[in-house]
Symmetry: C3
Subunit: 278 residues, 3 copies
């Protein structure tokens, strides 16, 4: 089994590379949290670019080292944009992060998420209910036909989503990150449990979305598993630190972006996590 | 006439219920302030979900206890989405909050706002000019054909909008909230005047929109009148408190979200207001 | 040649007029930074209104003293909206600010930016790479066919964009503002170099977009050159001041909006700049 110190070394190298090279990870993402996603990507050292149109998405897919697709607020044009961009990313062998927000709501969302199965996102990020529902939609182990998604919130626990996460990771050959009190990140053979964060992360919008965008930034410089784990680690670290300085969700957001920016490679790799074989 | 203490008891129960149950109020709202609306809804204890597409709007309308529709930045798809969602809400007897932002600008906005007359929003929230213009568009008392709306700002006073607000509330059987130096909230038979707030609320974007979103959250747990009054009360309270800690509109926004989060049920019900018969 | 003190007098009058009259400058702008653009416009004393649809854009063009068009996140409807609005602005003799974000990405963006040549924006604002690419697209001096635009970031220096900026200003008869370590603002005969700002302005999204929106607000009350220079001056001033109080990009954004709001006319005109003949 892979040693924890090896993982930490790779996390440090990913963070350092991002801070040094400011890699661009383009996004097609929802309008609620689009600003927060971009600012989080910039705060960790990456660059951001958001588009809606098919050919623009293809351009970003080809120009960037990775990309982020979030199905939060679908527009009609996404029916064309999202499969085209996902296809380009898959064929180019570029890692991309899928955020299956609100899976189960609406026919276009279901159609798109079903199409994504063949384009194998490098990282799938969601809460427990979303991960279970996606595994169900893709007819993999651990999934359920009926989703317990209520809007964008989760009604399942991270532990309940483990089988689904492992099955999804095995299918894509990438990684899956399940957000919760303790985050689960798995590549299908190893599972990491990342600790920290803040109760305020459920009292602001975009903690999950921007984690996906930051994972895409790290995926330009590391494997999907290391990228997802590094993103979870810096989020848990910055969340814990920000909470100590915050008086509410407004000041938490401000402090959180500051802490994302201030976190050093060693800080991030040193944020508590454990690993186990799946 | 209803007693003020009875109203305050109902406000306290609404705030407590929202903090305890985190009810979801879905929105179709403008892209300028969509993030602020969601964060305000979360800060008071609710849950948020925003969509654009018709079937997704219908899903949220059926899944939530109330909804929020803001016509600020119309997209072409809204021609289909908004009437369908409003119809579902009306037929299901679900309260929904209408924010007739920038009424008078553009043909689609006028068409949609005219259609909404029959779907009777539980709460109509706007500034004085918007309320007068909507009453005019719906050919009710107190309205005028020509709107004094300049973009999104009001050139009329709250007092001048009282007749229009009462007429709209009588038509819908719900409540109308007119934002201004002193907010007017009426159900057509009682008028409440809520005090507080801050001059900074005109120096940030979204104070009005997010008040509408928060009113939708409270409408899951109270009558339209109590929901609108409770939303106005927490906004006036949080605005006053935030202003004392703010050095400008940037820090005001941060403090305002913190104070929305920190306000207790008793604080909110205790924010100054008077009632009178209409 | 125009004297620096004359320029400063005109800057002071522009700032005072905006603070006194709260002029509206409507925008069609990208969804990533739309909230920040609106809040920046409000912070300096203006009013904001954002739309997508063609007739609504025409309404704002006719109702406002100036407008802001940013091609950051194009939607399909923009193919119709943007040329129609630009034409109305041009024919009405209203100054408008063009932000050619991400020029070179996608066919619609190229088509729209090419169309804008005949509608002569009063102010063109961009980073060095964007300005060089736009001059190239319009087949003016100083431009290049191949753009060095990487997403939304610049890989060229402000000095390298001087010839392109002058050529663009001579073509439009307006002004061009090139954002960089030192900002260059030119009307084709005079060049001003505005100093200040902060390294954090590259670590947040929207510093450039909102500068364009603020330039549109000042363009309601001053010539394009004075409007662009005044906007650059208040941005450099607020950026420098905000950096001294910030611990990271989150707190920088908050402080920056506060400082935009607090900057006095004399402060803004007194922010360091030099002028030279072109």
């Amino acid at each position: 089994m892979i040693r924890k110190t090896d993982i930490q070394d790779r996390m440090i190298r990913a963070v350092e590379a991002v801070k040094r090279t400011n890699p661009m990870a383009g996004s097609i993402t929802n309008s609620v949290t689009i600003n927060f996603v971009a600012n989080a990507q910039l705060a960790v050292g990456g660059a951001a670019a958001m588009v809606y149109l098919p050919d623009e998405g293809e351009f970003l897919a080809k120009a960037g080292g990775a990309a982020y697709i979030n199905v939060g607020t679908l527009l009609p044009i996404y029916e064309e944009s999202l499969p085209r961009v996902a296809k380009v990313l898959h064929e180019a062998g570029k890692p991309w992060v899928l955020d299956p927000v609100a899976i189960g709501i609406g026919s276009l969302r279901t159609k798109l998420l079903r199409q994504f199965k063949e384009y194998k996102p490098g990282v799938i990020r969601g809460n427990a209910s979303e991960i279970i529902a996606l595994a169900g939609l893709w007819e993999l182990d651990g999934g359920t036909g009926g989703s317990n998604v209520r809007g964008v919130d989760s009604t399942d626990s991270v532990a309940e989503a483990k089988a689904a996460a492992v099955a999804l990771a095995k299918w894509t050959g990438g990684a899956v990150a399940v957000s919760g009190r303790t985050d689960l990140i798995t590549d299908g053979s190893v599972a990491a449990f990342s600790h920290g964060g803040s109760h305020f992360m459920e009292k602001i919008t975009g903690a999950g979305c921007s984690l996906g965008g930051v994972a895409a930034v790290y995926a330009t410089a590391a494997s999907p598993f290391i990228a997802a784990l590094t993103a979870s680690a810096v989020y848990n670290l910055a969340g814990s630190r920000a909470e100590r300085k915050a008086d509410g969700p407004g000041s938490f957001q401000v402090q959180f972006l500051d802490e994302l920016y201030r976190a050093t490679p060693a800080d991030i790799a040193g944020n508590p996590f454990e690993i186990e074989e799946v």
